[in-house]
Amino acid sequence: MVSGFLSKPFRFFISMSKEHKGEWYIIVAGALILFVIIFSSVFAGIIAPYGPVTDVASPYIKEHNLDLRAATPLPPNETFIMGTNDLGFDVFSRILFGSRTVLLVSIAASIFSALMGIPIGLLSGFYGGKVDRTLSLLMDSIYSFPGLILAIALAAMLGPGVTNISVAIAVIYVPTYFRIVRGQVLSVKEELYVEAARSIGAGPMTIMTKYVFPNVIASVVVIFSLNVADAILTEAGLSFLGLGLPPDLPDWGIDLAKGKKFVPSGYWWIITFPGLMIMLVALSFTMIGEGLNEVLNPRLKEK
């Protein structure tokens, strides 16, 4: 890992607009998409025309004298802009409410990973020796696992539920934080001003919180947003495989899993929109993360 360039944390916030115009656009675009999605998720109760598990198609079908079995699911029309699903639920409303689930799980999982990974990484890097070797080995083992497969095993073990699924996802990202933080600590530790602080008698706790931690925070921000993006895809993947959440909770992954069987029938609206949303949310976090990363990491800077 390239390091040491972070000795003046947050410097990039000032220089960003001047030096990294392209990246700046990417970050802002990502943040804008994200803002819209978070806004609509928070105010889903107000924006959404219907409840996420309310059969709104049946009354509509009755009113228009259609045959219930033949007309279900309703394709997009002026009443239901994204159509309804097989149970008569409004797809658009489910999309809005579903964003809550996906954001909740992925952000909770990432926070949990960070809370686990950062302290362990700090400790490991700072103290070195046997502790470091053992922890590194353990983390490398988890890291070498294909993430989704580990999450599947954990989710199967923990059973369905929002908390359980968040924990299952969190575990697979702990090593990411650990590695990055540990690497940073190792290099910062050797910096002159840290040496100096140590020589004037600063305790390990002081050094860690005052000198080391501020230095890793910037890369943690990058990792965090990339991590959320990945967690979103993992959450959707787990739900798609049917390992995740209860059915009365609106969730994009579950809607896709249920929509799979409608492919030959051509009910495109049930499948297209939830997937598009997963992509958009993941993309917004990726854009923020990638943008920040390019600002922070001169190696990848555009030539």
Binding site: L137, I142, L283
Partner: protein, 341 residues
């Protein structure tokens, strides 16, 4: 040479404790899973004596772990070192046998997906580098970033809907047509078809591979686009390329002949690093396309709570990923002597 050998040796030695940790981890995750495997295996109505007997046969009446040598953990470890991954509760055959049955399907899919990703990724990446700062470059780069964020199963469903259902060009499920009775030697239908000169089988297998490997390949190709582009831009700035340019050698030749060759090593490495990601993607792709591979088997094992099968599959995939990364590291060390850890 000595340094290289000792690096390889260290790298291999480091893998051993990792395998041990991995085995332990998988064991405990699976053992604390709720649900009675014997009951789900025999059904709720089996007599209690039968259940107890099966439980005894499978060694499930022993403690999970204790200080003696007669517990499930010791059984599990010693079985593993004898190459035994246990007996599937659902199918009642050795898990290794099921893996042998399903793995070729995954390998075939992964191979074609990776092939697609590399060919497509390198081609577009090189093109983007060649046409730097053009509209094409920006679109390709945007696609590169976006591809990370596309859920592979959704992309699969979209491809099915468009090319499978609306246009009806490609099959959207399975490995081979029902009228083709595949001859199985390696389990790779394309290879088997070529060996046995059964071209109907080759055609049908390739035909079925188109959509799933495109879906998985498109997800994977982002990294190859970026890598190729960045590397080629780097190489294009180097002296000899500039010199070649100055001598009037056409830019296209410079780009595609010299620069691309130099970008090869990092691409090879990336193929190794991407393997874990490829496996995760394969699980979802297989579910989407009803592809009878390891991913489908894994999901099925979860649903049946067939924990020896689940355990065996996870261990197999993890070992595979470790093996590949070991191999790539060693290859890389041999190809590029500058790299030492």
């Amino acid at each position: 040479m000595r340094a290289l050998l000792s690096y390889i040796l260290t790298r291999i030695l480091l893998t051993i404790p990792m395998i041990f940790i991995l085995l332990t981890l998988v064991f405990f995750i699976i053992r604390v899973m709720p649900g009675d495997p014997v009951k789900s295996m025999l059904g709720a109505h089996a007599p209690k004596e039968t259940m107890d007997e099966v439980r005894h046969q499978l060694g499930l009446d022993k403690p999970i772990i204790d200080f003696s040598t007669n517990n499930q953990f010791v059984d599990y470890m010693s079985a593993f070192f004898h190459g035994d991954l246990g007996q599937s509760l659902w199918y009642r055959v050795p898990v290794t046998e099921k893996i042998a049955q399903y793995f070729p399907a995954t390998l075939e899919l992964s191979f074609f997906a990776l092939l697609f990703a590399v060919v497509f990724g390198v081609a577009t990446g090189a093109f983007a580098a060649h046409k730097r700062k053009s509209a094409a470059d920006y679109s390709i780069r945007l696609f590169g970033i976006t591809s990370y964020s596309i859920p592979v199963f959704w992309l699969g469903l979209m491809l099915q809907m468009i090319f499978g259902v609306a246009f009806d060009w490609f099959p959207i499920a399975g490995r081979i047509g029902a009228r083709v009775s595949p001859q199985v030697i390696t389990g790779l239908y394309v290879v088997d078809g070529i060996i046995t000169l059964n071209f109907e089988q080759v055609a049908s297998a390739l035909w079925h591979l188109v959509l799933p490997s495109t879906a998985l390949g498109l997800i994977l190709c982002g990294i190859f686009i970026r890598l190729t582009r960045a590397n080629m831009l780097g190489v294009l700035k180097q002296d000899y390329v500039l010199a070649a340019n100055a001598r009037g050698i056409p830019k296209r030749r410079v780009v595609y002949k010299h620069a691309l060759k130099n970008a090869f090593v990092p691409i090879l490495t990336m193929m190794g690093l991407e393997f874990a990601y490829l496996m995760s993607g394969a699980v979802l792709t297989e579910t989407t396309f009803s592809w009878p591979g390891m991913g489908s088997f894994l999901v099925e094992s979860v649903n049946y709570r067939d924990f020896p099968a689940l355990q065996g599959t996870i261990i197999f995939i993890a070992l595979l990923v470790m093996g590949i990364s070991l191999l790539v590291d060693i290859l890389y060390a041999i190809i590029d002597p500058r790299v030492r850890y």
